[in-house]
Symmetry: C2
Subunit: 559 residues, 2 copies
């Protein structure tokens, strides 16, 4: 947040609340103290069909029975789950330092979140992470929660589940007919899935990322040196999850990173990811050479105490790989990758992210922050896809995955970027092989470079395909990619585009119930039940608006 | 055109003219009387790169040296090419009947195009079609023209051509390093490619459709009973080709179909396709049961004399297949398919399109109207994809392809529709097998049904994939699909989306020069040459606008 913002001028973030059209939030209770949400969309009586159940990422904001107060944050139910299984201690925690907010002061300092929660951390010799519990055969509440959530309230397998799975093409994924907590545990224990869930993110509604589950999407938000404020970023987070973002990354730069993140976390029911090197760089005034392990380490602890659920860590960018990018069309385009490359070249030393990787694991384990091993050498152009630099880094990420697992951490792997269609599967298959099936989390990939302004689409094509091939989470791209910073409308278009891509992937993989929503839309279409078609759409507002532009009469909408 | 439109109120269509940013139209002259266009985009001097050559569909409208007069139509150079090879006769032609314009009169009758050209038709025993010439080993001017056009002004293969082809995955396509007229001829003779070019469409800049050439796209326009006028449709056609539509289908319904089409054809440098059954149905006041072979036949001749380049003919919808759709989620969604199904069920007789297929061939051969064998049983929902009905029809289309070839006609095959990703390649492979590699021309396919308002994207995913797998032409889908009629903005979004999908397919197939534009964009990006990035974009206006929304200063744009 870098606009002048003296505290008297700070406005409480206003966020969009209320249910989507014809929708009710429904909770399942697999355990007495777990309330797992999904959304039900009611159809016109003439349809004579039950409501359609859909996955719901929107949190309490769409539940009219919950009073939202952004100044207080969401309810912190999950703290009890963590405490009751033990192995953690509450402690005073790190106090905010001026450099955490980039030295902002006076009217440039964003207001602190009004409530301070003392952090928890894991104790040595005790299990903390979902990976550790899973390996020990323990089913956590988070595992029960995500199992119920994936089933969208269904108490047993859908009758067509086996046939639907058989009709799909999953490329080696094994989506079961029905998700049980035991299945969730086994997938996490195998490293094939993660539940990003920092023990300090007590507001979280857990969610699972793995290729044997529904494909998830991530939306990036974050202020920058140029535009936007805390208020806008909190609003964007709520807006993104309203339309279906399963995860949100806060990529803020500039000043007020700490305070912005706190507002977001305390109000976020979805996992929040960050790239800690961005904040560390602000702490050394943007001079990459001045970064140190100590500053970085302190930033990890700062963010872990706040409750960040996953960290992008570009530990695979090794000194020896930098020269591999020399003949690229677009060199190193990852911000984290180029920061570390600059540091390594300046010091002619191996990356401290690589040399201190085990210590990083130890910190992240204590809070159950998941790794999102960054692809600092991802291609920035289709010309650079699947090259030696990218694949060298991917092999190192595979090596680091095993280290992180041995340390008890949850791990996913980031992927490209820009990849023409015929090279997408090669990339996916190599990731599965090198990284022991750890979940892949890709940006796009963009399948051509010639359509700036439409890169949500160039990348939506690649995203749908790589999701089909086995990617567990798709990081959205908005229409502003390469051109500017996304506003609220861009966030929505990006989320909807990636939601449809993820769903297309689920359908193609043979997910046992993904087709139910498609079929409901199709029947509504065939019956001219316009209202049902709108309400079942990923974006009911736009569907209705487009219809009304040419056929505005009410009479055209009824069955 | 169904708005009241008395002739005094008729406005001459205004169309968008002038070059795209930093672009020049360049003509190659493979023969003294052939001027084959492409577009060159100039880069900033700091780039120290030659201009980037791109395919140009926009016709004379983007050539500042050509005076556009929509009342006169475009220059009719191609008439000489047809006349000089002989085998045709000029004749009086059919005179316009009131029913050709749906009985519109008075203020409801759209003004006739001011100039009347006497039609040509082929003589018995003489070659007329490109297929006939190709089979006889003759290289026509059209073949020379399209060969030059595909090479975009290049006089020889690009130095990296062989390597680029080897790096691609073409699934059995054989794109050569350089396109020669002989190669064009051989592909047409094999039935693998067509040049839609009615001998009466003298304004045409010929273009080739086949999987060993650049993937083409089609934009649908057309007035309806609800909205729009002749002026709007001519403008939409010019607008669609400005952004890259290689072909345009006029799907007008209601009144004034004849006059609307005449204005479009006389001003169109791209092939125009139609679905003649739509007009035939208007001639029987919308009562499908009252259709007759005679009315349909008369409509074919009417449209062939005007110069329509390809006809969608749903001759594969046979009586025996209708029951196969009984258990579908969305039955028969093709308008042509459902018209014919209604007729067959009412009369309990085989479709007259099937029983009279050879006569249809004889008519179309005389004018070299290409077949676009319609997929009247295409799925209208992902649930109905690749079902028995669709595949039964596809097999019949394969049978009819052979009949049409034997009659000397050019043929392409229409395809779905709605297909989840994992069933796309199966559909493509079956088409190639059943139809002897005749070009496939698909609508989308949409890969999920849950995103009305975003079906340009749900289908752009499927389009890019099926284009990669071998489809020769992609029919666009606009954001208004399923919801309403596309306006000018929707047409542009649809065209750009399909252009990027087609290009992604070209890249993946290993087209030898497709990557040059991507690489130029990527270099511009890496060098922060913003102006170059905008100018090289498929949609320079949107790219610039998005950039300026967050970074409006000129200083941010220079190299």
């Amino acid at each position: 947040m870098n606009k002048p913002a003296d505290q008297s001028a700070f406005e409480t973030p206003t966020v969009t609340t209320g249910p989507l059209p014809a929708s009710r939030k429904v909770y399942s209770h697999p355990l007495p103290d777990l309330a797992v949400p999904h959304r039900e969309i009611d159809l016109h009586p003439s349809a004579n069909e039950p409501p359609v159940a859909v996955y719901d990422t929107s949190g309490p904001y769409t539940d009219p029975s919950v009073t939202i107060d952004v100044e207080k944050g969401l309810a912190r139910d999950r703290r009890d789950w963590v405490l009751e299984r033990g192995g953690v201690e509450e402690y005073e925690g790190r106090h905010v330092k001026p450099e955490d907010n980039g030295g902002a002061n006076g009217k440039y300092l964003a207001r602190e979140f009004p409530v301070r929660h003392r952090p928890l951390r894991g104790l040595d010799g005790h299990m903390v992470t979902q990976y550790e519990f899973a390996r020990a055969g323990v089913i956590t509440k988070e595992m029960v929660y995500v199992a119920t959530r994936e089933n969208m309230g269904r108490a047993e397998a859908h009758e067509d589940a086996a046939a639907t799975i058989a009709d799909g093409q999953s490329f080696g994924a094994h989506i079961p007919e029905f998700i049980t907590p035991e299945f969730v545990r086994d997938e996490i224990a195998a490293g094939r899935a993660i539940i990003p869930c920092n023990i300090n993110h007590a507001e979280l509604e857990p969610q699972i990322i793995g290729r044997n589950f529904l494909v998830k999407i991530n939306a990036n938000i974050g202020n920058s040196a140029v535009t936007s404020s805390v208020e806008e970023e909190v609003d964007k987070m709520v807006w993104a999850i309203r339309w279906g973002a399963d995860n949100v990354m806060d990529l803020s730069t500039g000043r007020n990173i700490h305070n912005t993140r706190e507002w977001i976390l305390r109000n976020s029911p979805v996992p929040i990811g960050t790239v800690p090197i961005y904040q560390a760089l602000e702490k050394v005034d943007g001079v990459a050479e001045n970064l140190t392990w100590e500053i970085y380490r302190d930033t990890l602890i700062e963010q872990a105490e706040q409750g960040v659920d996953y960290f992008t860590i570009h530990a695979g960018v090794r000194l020896a790989y930098i020269h591999l990018t020399a003949n690229r069309v677009t060199g190193i385009v990852s911000r984290g990758g180029s920061i570390m490359a600059k540091w390594m070249l300046a010091h002619h030393k191996e990356s401290f992210l690589y040399t201190h990787f085990e210590e990083i694991c130890d910190i992240m384990r204590k809070y159950d922050v998941s790794f999102s091993l960054g692809d600092g050498l991802r291609p920035g152009a289709t010309a650079d896809a699947n090259d030696a630099a990218q694949f060298a880094e991917l092999e190192t990420l595979g090596e680091l995955t095993k280290v992180a697992w041995a340390k008890g951490c949850q791990v996913m792997i980031e992927g490209p970027g820009h990849v023409p269609m015929h090279k997408i599967k090669v990339n996916m298959d190599k990731q599965l092989r090198e990284c022991g099936e750890a979940p892949f989390y890709t940006l796009g990939p963009l399948t051509t470079d010639i359509a700036p302004g439409y890169d949500h689409i160039t990348s939506g094509i690649g995203a749908a395909m790589i999701g089909w091939f086995g990617t567990a989470m798709l990081c959205y791209v908005t229409p502003k990619e390469h051109l500017g910073l996304p506003d609220r409308d861009d966030v929505k278009v990006g989320v909807i585009t990636y939601k449809l891509a993820a769903h297309a992937a689920d359908l193609a993989k043979g997910h046992p119930t993904a087709h139910l929503r498609d079929d409901a839309v199709s029947r509504a279409r065939f019956d001219f039940r316009w209202e049902d078609q709108f309400n079942l759409a990923l974006d009911p507002e736009t569907a209705r608006d487009f219809h009304d532009q040419t056929l505005p009469k009410e009479a055209h909408k009824v069955a």
